[in-house]
Point group: C2
Chain length 206, copies 2
Amino acid sequence: MTTRSKPGPRQRLLDAAQELTYREGVAVGVDSLLKTANVARRSLYEHFGGKDGLIAEVLRRSAAEDEAAYRETMAAAGDEPRARLLAVFDRLALIVDRADFRGCRYLAADLALADPEHPGHAVTREYRANVTALFEAELARLGHPRPGHAAGQLLLVVDGIMVAAATRPDSDPAGAGRELALGILAQAGAAGAAGAARGRIGGGAT
Amino acid sequence: MTTRSKPGPRQRLLDAAQELTYREGVAVGVDSLLKTANVARRSLYEHFGGKDGLIAEVLRRSAAEDEAAYRETMAAAGDEPRARLLAVFDRLALIVDRADFRGCRYLAADLALADPEHPGHAVTREYRANVTALFEAELARLGHPRPGHAAGQLLLVVDGIMVAAATRPDSDPAGAGRELALGILAQAGAAGAAGAARGRIGGGAT
DNA sequence: TGTGGAGTAGATCAACCGGTCTATATAGTC
DNA sequence: GACTATATAGACCGGTTGATCTACTCCACA
């Protein structure tokens, strides 16, 4: 838009697609993408090979950005693992309350891309694995007895927050989810102090 | 399938659509629905007014069935509210592990139906409200200090289980979710014992 | 100067979409 | 037996989809 060193068709297309596929879903028409990006039809097929390639690339870029945002959020919260993890949920509360929030892009993509061979699925899978690993590292530092399990639980809560925020925003999903996260983190505190006092802690493999 | 008093086109169409829209999403083509149901094209428009009407009706029927399943599960678990609620998550573990599990039908429908005025959205909204109410009633009986809030949390966990099971089934989502549910119920136990002995805790209204 | 790659504009394509139509067949009822 | 409801079969419609193709413009660089 601004007359600033013209970003080039590829960039414009990625920008437009990133926004449109989130707002309207990955089922947006190619024409709509081209028109929004002010890009010739041919450029799409030159740069991305087709709509599927563009969508996959958009998911890749989004995932990289979101992962970076996770890291930044945690970095800004200091060194204490507990504070770093809670900061994630505080940030989630802000995201979810934004007027343009429309749910989780990756979940929507997975549900909308019927073909299980679509390259987008691999991207979303890796994204989730990376976020889980991020959680797990903090939980391990926190001394949680089952960091891998708890990381999965945290991601489950994150997923639940996103879904609840998208489908019934009145229920304060972020607040409810944060409380659940607190419960997960509390197990680390209890286990750290009292060991296996609660008894349920089985094979603690990652 | 059995040659049993021919279910009629309307019923056949509903049956086929209920299965196909779950397996392939609500974006299935009309032709595919008609062919699977062995129903004439015209019958669809006679009975449901169009594809949207059929989808809405399928969602209504599914919601009624699923609500009934919730009630039956709880009824089969006896009278104890805690056992009744945990039975829901035990059943969820079975559902999620079935080979034909493909995520939450209602969430997928909400994400796929771009038009916010689509009649399907009202159905899914009511379904979620009904399930929440079901949870809330048990939590209130359990003496939970914030049954409405906790019910929202339980539904958040249910949503999280469904999403996690659909997107990363290796993470034992049902087990992880059940533990979270236990934590929510535990709050009732703690508050219930103290609250019942000392009198009511604030905000006890539904 | 001029050549070639990149981008644009847009016609065109086959396939498919949901929906309407006519014609025909079947079943139940007076 | 005739009438009417309902269902079937399938041609047909306009619109849209993603994709291919040609023709033209533009600009950097040799």
